[in-house]
Amino acid sequence: MKYKKGDSLENWNFTVIQKNMDLWAEILDDPNPIHLDVNSVKLLGLGEKTINQGHANIAYIINAINYNFPESEIIKLNNKMTDSIVEGDKITVSGHIENIVEKNKRIIITCQLQLNVGKEKVSVVSEADILIKA
């Protein structure tokens, strides 16, 4: 098997732009102005830039899993949002293999992942169980 406990995942990167936040507001039918209107964000004291939808942040985690394990199926994904991602942020998803279980010809890999902006800001902390297809 090519995967080992403790292995680091290959980093996955993306830049958040307003056009995609506008699209996600439509996809989710979510009128929350913090994603669309920078003045609302300022009025609420939440910063100087529009805030990305948490759902999109979780999609980046999923894409990083898919990038590292192309022949796989996610069977569990727990996500804790710890900080906001804002317009213009260059995000990186990193992680490592926490555990590997082989049972009944099935391999399930547990990964710890996190979505960062730079080295300091951690915005999402996730744990995923991934079924590796034979």
Binding site: P31, P33, L44, A59, I62, N78
Partner: protein, 170 residues
């Protein structure tokens, strides 16, 4: 069998009277329920907007939907939009509600050009003080996804953080 009409009426009643209700009145409240169809063009946009490379010329060969559709479907197909949920709680979205946690379990992968049904309930609504945000409410709800044969496809549990401004004195 779920009594959708009765649940919808209950949501209307609670929404109209939410100013006078206690937090416990929302405990165990069923969502009206509904369904959502995954359109292949929309799936393409979801992939593209989150940085996953998909060849548009390959659109007709794509069978599986992006797994983030678990979140999209459960919210869009629950019978209550995000705005409906905030209206139910008499919550002003100008205060900036935030997703706090989202835990998902998947029994099957999602397919494009396929319709899914959604059922769920509010688990709790509590009030707390946050050092960063001041007075907040925490909304905990769960939604499950089924295919047309009532086979459970997966579950999603959401925790939303609702900062309270002066307009929200529930």
């Amino acid at each position: 069998m779920i009594d959708t009409a009765n649940i919808t009426e209950k949501w209307k009643y609670l929404t109209n009277n939410s100013k006078n209700l206690s937090l416990n009145d929302f405990f165990d409240l069923d969502f009206p329920g509904g369904n959502f169809y995954i359109d292949k063009e929309a799936n393409f946009l979801v992939n593209q907007s989150t940085g996953k490379k998909v060849d548009k010329e390959d659109l007709n060969n794509i069978i599986l939907a992006h797994p983030i559709y678990f979140m999209i479907i459960t919210l869009r197909g629950s019978g209550a939009s995000i705005q409906d949920i905030f209206d139910l709680l008499n919550y002003d979205t100008k205060n900036g509600p935030m997703l706090g946690q989202c835990n998902m379990s998947f029994n099957y992968q999602l397919k494009v050009d396929y319709k899914y049904n959604v059922r769920g309930k509010i688990n709790s609504l509590i009030e707390k003080k946050s050092q960063k945000l001041g007075k907040i409410k925490i909304l905990d709800f769960s939604l499950s996804l089924y295919d047309d044969l009532s086979l459970k496809i997966g579950d999603v549990n959401y925790i939303w953080i609702l900062p309270l401004g002066k307009k929200n004195e529930i």
